[in-house]
Symmetry: C2
Subunit: 208 residues, 2 copies
């Protein structure tokens, strides 16, 4: 047995499969594989079948493209929510984060990705066209909140969507974005200057 | 949809399955589940089947209890290795770490766990009896290197094995353990006092 070699091909295959996940290196993957080996095999099959079923049976809401189990997701089918406010997010994780705040009562549009030329993801690879179609057929005024991340990909995607919306030529569609600034409880001393600068530019009325 | 709830039961099941792995919290599990959803389903099935096959088809060397694909592992079947030196380790990960050093040419005995009353793991749950049997039938002198971790469980297991070996009443079996002390390149200033103390007690001849 040479250094760095595995005594078993089955083990090597499993470690390679696990380390293909983002953020899991080969050492962690080996630790996880050995953990799984220590489990009764029914537990391992329960683990793998939950993942297989997710891949095979998952559906997407035909309105907002969110992962769901039915044709329409729980948010879109909830009549108590404000269907004239539409929050555009990258993925279902962002939906869950926003739902956790308890501050949002509108609906969503899930892009399922972000424009990223470096990863070969263009505007047609994510659900931008369905968003524009959705806005085109809306008869009342709509507010679109672009809730994408603040990095280059997020900004590019926001700008692309903004231009597409503008090209609809509708003056009853408002486009907004998330406020950015210092976090609550943040110390000025430790804030990065870009964030602090934006906090000054976007200063708002002091309401004690 | 309430805060902290999932829009899909399939997603929730997969996230729960993934977060059952050690060191993976529910946020990381959600990130991994969403990553898997973004993959073609063949890739996901390749991932899960590698894990299923590991659980179903893995074998253990009948001599040293190491994970392997055949009846006897590559180390035990290698006649160039020193079969009179036997390194006792917790699991195959430790074997791979020791093999990576390139400094060991003996064979192994893999316990497959460590005595840990808190986890309900006693001496009979790990491969101690096969180790003692293996020593009992050995006709030549043997050196047993106890290469277990330095925590309470490791020390307990080492001590238990030592007593079992002593009870064989053989004076041609030597028991040794790994040297412990400061790591190479370690600064005295930052060493914990237990390690530094052991480094002084176990000091060795200076050979420039």
């Amino acid at each position: 047995m040479n250094g760095n070699s595995y005594p078993s091909k089955l083990l090597k295959d499993a470690v390679e499969a696990i380390s293909s996940l983002p953020g899991i290196g080969s050492r962690s993957a080996l630790r996880l594989a050995i953990h799984l080996l220590g489990q009764p095999s029914e537990n391992v099959h329960r683990f793998t079948s939950a993942i297989d079923r997710l891949a095979d049976e998952v559906r997407y809401c035909r309105i907002c493209n969110m992962i769901c189990d039915d044709e329409v997701c729980p948010v879109c089918s909830d009549q108590r929510r404000d269907h004239s406010t539409l929050c555009v997010v990258e993925n279902v994780r962002d939906v869950m984060s926003i739902e956790d705040t308890g501050q949002y009562h509108g609906v969503y549009h899930v892009l399922g990705g972000i424009i990223s030329p470096i990863d070969g993801i263009g505007p047609s690879d994510i659900a931008i066209a369905p968003l524009i179609d959705r806005l085109r057929v809306s008869d009342a005024g709509v507010e679109v909140i672009l809730a994408l991340s603040g990095d280059v990909e997020g900004e590019t995607t926001s700008f692309y969507i903004y231009r597409q919306i503008m090209s609809l030529g509708r003056n009853d569609i408002r486009v907004s974005t998330l406020a950015r600034g210092l976090g609550f409880g943040d110390d000025l001393e430790y804030a990065d200057s870009l964030t602090l600068g934006r906090s000054i530019i976007n200063r708002c009325e002091f309401k004690p």
